[in-house]
């Protein structure tokens, strides 16, 4: 062994020595191991418990804030989807309308008929009509051959004047599927829109417009659809309610009052100056509202500081929404009365969707409303909604000191007791004056008689004296819950601003 140590055999020496070495721990060690293996519940210090609850309270608060954010995002998404759906619907209607106004062009030969196919139902003077002039050059004697057959070509009148700058031959070449028959260099184009009163013109190419005046697209206007440019929900912090309560140990009873104000703005732009029904291209909505809650609450507290709470609340919400829709006169189709104009607006209210028809008369009946006239429609809706609410909450009081915290959550059963709706509308344009506003409920879901809300809150308590007889109870975070509830309430009354054709 000594040689091993001195001949660098220390490693082997130690290894072999320890492998052969045997030693025993004390006899009582197994008992200690066995005790450790027995999972005895560890005593959790109070401080740890407090931290757990503090974490829970913080998580609840975070959930409220995040939930509110998600809620508004969802609301915005729903709003966008709704507007998209409506825009698509309008687009479909528009296409249908256009298809109805298909131009039927008929090429035929005629002999000496009188032309009455212009807008004014007057014969077109061939001397002033370029097509007629061209035709005349081709056929000086203005005679069509009756033996020639005729054919019909349908064109969508996206560009009603497309023929105007064409000569006869070009017309024929431009027309798809042309089964045109020419005779002696005479070509006549007859446009038919909406009616069958076709009259052929001798040796002349004519464009026949329908009875309805169509407004051509204007390249200056943007084609496209922008939905929501901005949507700004804004919750103002309410007045902090103070809830004095009488506490007799297990039972406490108190009154409370809170006041909340909200304000939201929404703007969207629709720019589709195509022919068709009324079309808003700029709409701004704003809502201001207040919610006041007054009530009485009773709480039962268990030995472990668990709380069961109920009560009776009166809640009144006043909402005022205003909508400013800017449109151009060309975006709508004038009705039969050229001096009276109707604009229809759809508004979601607590009573469902309401159609608002704003009617305006021309200030000067002899004055022509320019097609590009800017018109602003202002609509104001005031709603008052009253509820009686019964909360059923479960909570936990955290801490025993003069300052302590309470967290609660549960359901609020709201019974709709009354609602009122007052709508007014006007048109801002120097050439128009508002004559009247008509509104009627169309469809949609209004507020239900019973509405159940989930709520969660955190309250801070301060005992005025050591016995805790009086409790100073400002549940400031409660307002977040009220705010969320208010927005749930408002969702159905604020998603507004749809224009119907």
């Amino acid at each position: 062994m000594e040689n091993n140590l001195h001949n660098d055999g220390l490693d082997d020496f130690l290894r072999k020595s320890f492998e052969q070495y045997d030693d025993s721990p004390s006899d009582g060690l197994w008992d200690k191991i066995e005790a450790d293996l027995t999972d005895e519940p560890k005593v959790v210090p109070i401080r740890t418990t407090y931290r757990w609850w503090a974490t829970a309270a913080a998580a609840l608060f975070l959930a409220l804030v995040v939930g509110q954010h998600i809620y508004f995002q969802k609301e915005k998404t729903e709003l966008i989807d709704r507007i998209n759906a409506q825009a698509k619907k309008i687009e479909t209607l528009e296409k249908e309308l256009i298809n109805k106004e298909t131009t039927e062009i008929k090429i035929a030969k005629n002999n000496g008929s009188e032309n009455i196919f212009n807008d004014n139902k007057e014969p077109i003077n061939s001397e002033t009509n370029s097509f007629s002039e061209n035709s005349k050059k081709n056929k000086p004697n203005n005679n069509y051959s009756k033996e020639n057959k005729s054919s019909t070509v349908h064109l969508i009148s996206e560009q009603p004047n497309f023929i105007e700058n064409k000569n006869n031959n070009t017309d024929i070449n431009k027309i798809e599927k042309n089964n045109l028959i020419e005779n002696n260099n005479e070509v006549e184009t007859i446009a038919k829109i909406g009616n069958n009163d076709l009259i052929e013109n001798n040796n002349e190419v004519e464009i026949i417009a329908g009875q309805q005046k169509l407004i051509a697209p204007n390249s200056l206007d943007l084609i496209g659809l922008k939905n929501i440019d901005s949507f700004t929900p804004n919750l103002s912090l309410p007045t902090t309610p103070i809830i004095p309560a009488v506490n007799s140990g297990k039972f406490s009873i108190g009154i409370h009052h809170s006041h909340l104000s909200t304000r939201e703005k929404m703007a969207r732009v629709i720019q589709r100056p195509l022919i068709g029904p009324n079309r808003i291209f700029n709409n701004t909505s704003a809502m201001t509202g207040t919610t006041q809650v007054t009530g009485i609450g009773a709480t039962y507290k268990t030995k472990n500081n668990w709380l069961l709470e109920s009560g009776l609340n009166y809640r009144k919400t006043n909402l005022s929404t205003s909508h400013h829709a800017q449109l151009r006169f060309m975006d709508r189709r004038p009705d039969t009365n050229n001096q009276q104009h109707d604009f229809v607006y759809a508004l979601n209210t607590s009573a469902g969707i309401v159609d608002i028809e704003v009617r305006a008369d021309q200030t000067d009946p002899t004055e022509t409303i320019n097609e590009f006239e800017n018109i602003t429609i202002n609509i104001k809706a005031d709603q008052a909604i009253e509820y009686v609410s019964i909360p059923l909450l479960i909570g936990k009081q955290l801490g025993y000191g003069r300052f302590n915290t309470t967290i609660k959550s549960g359901f609020l059963f709201n019974f709709l007791t009354s609602q009122s709706l007052d709508i007014s509308g006007s048109i801002s344009n120097s050439k128009l004056r508002s004559s009247r506003t008509v509104y009627s409920r169309r469809n949609g879901i209004g507020l239900k008689i019973l509405q159940t809300d989930f709520m969660a809150m955190v309250g801070l308590n301060y005992n005025l004296n050591k016995n805790g007889v009086h409790i100073f109870h400002p549940p400031w975070l409660c307002q977040w819950a009220i705010a969320i509830m208010t927005h749930i309430l408002n969702r159905q009354v604020f998603l507004a601003g749809s224009i119907l054709g």
């Binding site: 320890f18 070495y21 025993s24 721990p25 197994w30 191991i33 066995e34």
Partner: protein
């Protein structure tokens, strides 16, 4: 039913049997790393608790003794890390070692007594020396593995091993010459 299954199921008798089977070998391992016999028992206790709680993770790959040894070695290394004395510095406690050797120079049988004294000497060594020495010689770790395990450089591991060996060799010489 296999004793391992019984141990996993929490059968105390089976666990005790397993403990009895390996306690001595593992205790020697603990003695090599600990500062004292009491500390070694603490390591062994914590190590076996961990063995029984994690026994379900033993897949059967490799022998059971090796797995248990690895678990207890990890506990021992954790114990060393908790000491916060893992500083690879030379200490001038040579005189202290010498005193220990003189006191322990008993009259027991040669081999076992010598190993016991060496164990005792190792327990008195600076913890860094002892740990590197153990890991390199007994656990057959490479210097790179030691460096990774202890968070030191490979060079430090090598130098500490050489110094630990030199110290140990000199002290053993003294013991031998005294005998």
């Amino acid at each position: 039913m296999d004793i391992l299954d019984q141990c996993i199921r929490g059968d105390r008798m089976a666990q005790k049997a397993l403990y009895q089977q390996y306690k001595n070998k593992m205790f020697v391992l603990c003695l090599r790393y600990a500062n004292s016999r009491e500390d070694a028992e603490d390591i062994l206790q914590e190590g076996f608790v961990k063995v029984f709680r994690d026994l379900h993770q033993y897949t059967g790959a490799g022998n059971l003794e090796g797995w248990i040894r690895k678990v207890i070695l990890n506990v021992a290394l954790q114990y060393i890390r908790k000491q916060k004395q893992l500083k690879m510095q030379l200490t001038s406690d040579f005189e202290q070692w010498e005193n220990v050797l003189m006191v322990d120079n008993g009259e027991e049988s040669f081999d076992k007594e010598l190993v016991k004294k060496i164990l005792h000497l190792m327990q008195q060594m600076p913890i860094g020396f002892r740990t590197v020495l153990n890991l390199y010689i007994m656990e057959e770790y490479s210097h790179q593995q030691i460096a990774d395990e202890l968070g030191i450089s490979v060079g430090t591991s090598k130098s500490q091993l050489n110094r630990a060996k030199a110290y140990l060799r000199e002290l053993v010489d003294r013991v031998m010459s005294d005998q």
